[in-house]
Symmetry: C2
Subunit: 310 residues, 2 copies
């Protein structure tokens, strides 16, 4: 049997992402020992009941002691705290990674506090669901998804390779880019979509002429597609927007300009402009399906009550 | 065996909706005979190959001759044409219905042209997928979905009951409201979501700093959820926006106001406002799931390549 990749792997923050890592590390025997830290005692005891780790602590420093890799899976606003807590116990060879959805801010927060910044390898798996907490995780979450690594100028290559090996072991494909470029790409592929989804669901909640029960009843007309993203973890997403402010506001500016142009076309009855816009968007879904990032079945392959398969 | 509900049921326009009706009418024996008209010869011969009907014609008037119910399933911009074509062959008892996503405009277009306006029962099933054409339909499309009937002041009650019976036979639950209220409700639950989805996919297609291949690769971060609606039929949706202009522009105005407030909160770092907004939107999805209009499985229950079930 192969030697595990790591002796002691420490996960700080045992939510959807942390618990999915723990499950897959266990299933694939990527580490001899899994140590789990979470400041929230309820999450920690849930993780223990699920048997996700071998060691549990409310203190990141305790869990990180003796680790050869520490993976921070906390909301991006808490990255600095994690670095501060683990710094005293890190060994020269301990790898430090994270899974935050914003990378430049995480680096700004963590790097200055770490004794061995060459061992910092920021990472971001592009995977998730709308559910939160230790029970929401599953071992195959990262299968066939991308994990983006954003090494700093100080990151050494061996550390980068080891973290890439971890993510390949978790089922992901690896992409490497700068933190700044990551934050631009994710602003458009993830942060803006979440903001728009939260916003439209909020708008629908506030109407006077249309009741909330009507919104719910007739949501199959399209609205329900937005509610999945709008059910995502509020703390995580608050932090994403606060920590990727400039890129999100830039993406939002373009979105609003384009929307104003569509509104103008509707007002003035410019059917050709609408038709042209609605036609080119079709190809993008096809490409996403071809790239293995979406399924081809209509309606996301939803199989709800009464929805048949013929 | 029960007597079928109708002797000759005519479907004008054999796309996703028309072909789903035809399949279910056949499966449930709701009519003795199904007549199908479509101006597009390719769609018509596809329908014939699929065996969806008993009679096929490129002319609505031919298919509607001798019908006891005619259901128009064309884009809402073509409703007036359909009324004009079928008017000469309608009998005093022939029911006329439709499935358009906008109701006041359909009534304005059809009612003045019909010889027996008391037989007009506008309808809108809140169901669909992103696929188009005769092959995209399936018999269970309307199962457990709502169908909204919007009788006019002239619609007689017996006609309303008969059309309600048809839709219950197709698997739908019935709701009745005015055309004007329907158009407000759908502007928020369907038309605005589609417009936003088309817009964000278009915005992502136009960036310079982020390549289209990056958008596709990393779409699992949230963007891909929007691409389903943005892959819907462009002709249908062009017509929806042109024919429900005022309600869509009103809904859009509220959406943009709310979005500006979120943007301001991001710019000024108002985390409490963001957290509060992102929390209340969670409950709405729960309610939609409880109402049987969405499934509870994470990620829409997508089962793509490599996505496991544990």
């Amino acid at each position: 049997m192969d030697e595990p990749l790591f002796r002691r792997l420490t996960i700080i923050g045992i939510g959807l992402i942390g618990s999915s890592i723990a499950r897959k590390v266990r299933a694939e025997r990527l580490a001899q020992e899994i140590a789990i830290a979470d400041r929230n005692p309820a999450a920690l005891s849930e993780a223990a009941e699920l048997g996700l780790g071998d060691f549990y602590s409310e203190h990141a420093s305790e869990a990180a002691t003796g680790a050869d890799i520490v993976v921070s899976c906390v909301p991006v606003g808490a990255a600095g705290n994690v670095a501060q807590e683990i710094a005293p116990v890190l060994l020269p060879d301990t790898l430090v990674s994270d899974t935050g959805s914003v990378k430049a801010s995480v680096i700004r927060q963590m790097q200055p506090l770490l004794p061995y910044p060459a061992r910092l390898v920021p990472a971001h798996p592009i995977a998730g669901t709308e559910n939160s907490g230790p029970s929401a995780g599953f071992a195959d979450l990262f299968e066939n998804r991308w994990c983006i690594l954003t090494p700093t100028r100080e990151t050494d290559l061996r550390a980068l390779d080891r973290v890439a090996e971890l993510w390949r072991g978790l089922g992901a494909d690896i992409e490497t880019m700068t933190a700044e470029h990551h934050d631009l790409v994710l602003a458009i592929t993830s942060h803006l979509p979440h903001l728009i989804a939260y916003n439209i669901v909020g708008t629908a909640d506030d109407l006077e002429e249309v009741t909330q029960s009507e919104v719910i009843k007739f949501s199959a007309g399209g609205f329900r597609d937005f509610t999945r993203l709008a059910a995502s973890d509020p703390t995580m997403w608050r932090d994403v927007f606060l920590h990727n402010r400039d890129a999100v506001i830039e993406a939002l500016g373009r979105f609003s300009e384009d929307l104003a142009a569509l509104q103008r076309a509707i007002r003035w009855g410019d059917g050709d402009m609408l038709y042209e816009t609605f036609t080119r968007t079709r190809a993008i879904r096809r490409n996403i399906i071809d790239a293995g990032q979406e399924i081809a079945a209509p309606d996301f392959g939803r199989r709800g009550p009464g929805s048949g398969s013929n």
